[in-house]
Symmetry: C2
Subunit: 189 residues, 2 copies
């Protein structure tokens, strides 16, 4: 998506440790027009796949999932990190390794909201090593639902996540794939 | 908002400890039509107030803020819980007491995204004791921005948050105000 590439070039900031800061428009402050266009693009890509549920993980994916859900006309669902008192009943759980924060954490969804009849689209802001997406795929597999594919705003093409998912036969659609972030200069695949 | 009241009566579940579970449509699974109507109602209430930024706190407020931001045509911004590596630079910080999880936590926004010229609308899913809203108000005050008001999906009218905010002269608009949750029976104000 050209708009995403342009926005990354204009407002993205490369920080030490291969961190791309896009907090002015994507994952802290969120630009409404960009979000609308992201939703439209995901709908263009996956709108014909019979999606019944959009699944993401808190926190940055929630806005993307909610705006896209408006277009798909299906519920959005976000996996929670760690157990909270508000999450009653039985849950599907998966482990996710965190490279940003170190360590690992558990993601959970209530069993009431994913079932074998569902066709699930996974959406998230970033795809880097793929750990969050693999965790979400684990939740979908446990539920018996069908995985339609993964949509991400920004894929770090120089990390292994995209390859790991595509090797498993998963359809991955990234709105921008960064090939390289060399000395602050960003090039796209 | 009649639609919110109807939905709470139909799908809300009262659990021990005055917890109202609305995870099938509001804060785990999110209903796209309800979200759209919530956005429209917040826009009807606050659309004429010159809002330049919608501020919420992760995680459950993010979807509401993003969908509303589409209608307001302004950015949404979510305060993060605790410091993350992705949040570079200087931040405004406030403490929030958590009654659901116990203890307290810090919420943060980058100083780049709130400034004295902003007119800020706070949105969240729940207003109970008001601690999250007070924390967000603290962030807004630190930035010098003007507070337009608070919009919440569900206010627990039998807890003190709404009164605390209104006593300070803050405009609070709740889409549903629960007066009582007695033995599982919900009545609205």
């Amino acid at each position: 998506m050209l708009l995403m590439q342009q926005r990354i070039l204009r407002d993205g900031v490369v920080r030490d440790g291969n961190i791309l800061a896009v907090d002015s428009f994507l994952n802290h402050q969120m630009d409404p027009e960009l979000y609308q266009e992201m939703g439209r693009e995901f709908y263009r890509l996956f709108g014909g796949c019979g999606v019944t549920k959009i699944l993401t993980v808190e926190a940055s994916g929630i806005g993307i999932a909610c705006v896209a859900a408006q277009l798909f006309g299906c519920p959005a669902l976000f996996a929670k990190k760690g157990r909270t008192k508000n999450l009653g009943g039985e849950v599907y759980a998966a482990q996710v390794e965190s490279y940003t924060h170190g360590g690992s954490y558990t993601i959970l969804v209530s069993k009431r909201f994913l079932s074998p009849g569902d066709r699930v689209l996974l959406l998230d802001d970033f795809l880097a090593r793929g750990s969050a997406m693999l965790g979400l795929m684990d939740l979908v597999a446990q539920s018996g639902a069908a995985l339609v594919g993964c949509g991400v705003a920004i894929e770090k093409g120089f990390q292994e996540g995209g390859r790991l998912l595509r090797e498993r036969g998963v359809r991955v659609e990234s709105l921008a794939i960064i090939q390289q972030m060399d000395q602050g200069r960003i090039t796209f695949a």
